[in-house]
Assembly symmetry: C2
Homo-oligomer: 197 residues x 2
Amino acid sequence: MFEGPVQRLIDELSRLPGIGGKSAQRLAFHLLTGEEADARRLASAIVDMRDQVGQCERCYNVAAGELCAICRDVKRDDSLVVVVERPQDIVVVEKTQEFRGRYHVLGGALSPINGIGPGQLRFDELKGRLEPEGIAELIVATNPTVEGDTTAMYIAREFKPLGMKVTRLASGLPVGGDLDYADELTLGRALTGRSEL
Amino acid sequence: MFEGPVQRLIDELSRLPGIGGKSAQRLAFHLLTGEEADARRLASAIVDMRDQVGQCERCYNVAAGELCAICRDVKRDDSLVVVVERPQDIVVVEKTQEFRGRYHVLGGALSPINGIGPGQLRFDELKGRLEPEGIAELIVATNPTVEGDTTAMYIAREFKPLGMKVTRLASGLPVGGDLDYADELTLGRALTGRSEL
């Protein structure tokens, strides 16, 4: 239907998460009929990012050099480490501006059904950080899913015997949400985790 | 918040239509943490398309060479021309598989409020095609908007004196739609354009 190079771009765009065939077509035409400089700048930004950005050697966050911006920051508290599944989860925690410790990116969550066992995640790397960095508490911020829960329990079992305090983010009602719209599982967790007023 | 090259890609992605800040961030992380070859192939596809695809010299559709695939097709009916606002509108008409004539891309619609007059659109180029190509009918397929309607009326006024038959796509109820959900304007058009059974 489309000229070869247009169709190839539509195909590539369709592979992106959350971009369907129709959106891919719309984006491709925008990139074709819009400002040429904009389109070329987008292409360069993709290439530059892959060329320049890698993994932080310490916490496995994305990093433009050997260490990420958070690990380079000497004013952060070394003793507190938030453990997340993916680098983008760090951003969400950082936005709260309530945490001034460091992070550790596991690279996913335990999922026996998908063949992801402890060997596929960065638990050993985390163990290697405990002593040299003087880590005292691991705050588990895996997703509130079956896999995230399994991972949290695994961390508690493995790291508490090593003298770590292991905590987990609270699950419960979203702030500003409506009780009517809460699902039973979330409400159940909110009940279990209730706090005294 | 993000490493420079990541933030630059997020900024570029946010400029795309229909991509908000959150989606841009999600796409950037996908391009960063996904397969490197996929990311680089997307960048190349953008550059290749801008390098290789231009405008058809005859109808102003997108074209990989001098003429687009439709203008290169010798089996199409030269006498019928569907007039559209943008190249992507051609795809929509082609998908019906009910039209075997040719096209003309105006490059937009008349919009005095946005300073788009006849001089900004390709009416002269269309006039230049009438005689050499033996065009007999112009089927106006501009959008059913105020601008599209204005453009359609302008085409009728300018091209009927030149001996052209000028028709317009019907406006009315979408097939499979529900009368309950039709807005008054569409319903009004459907009434005006009613046909005898």
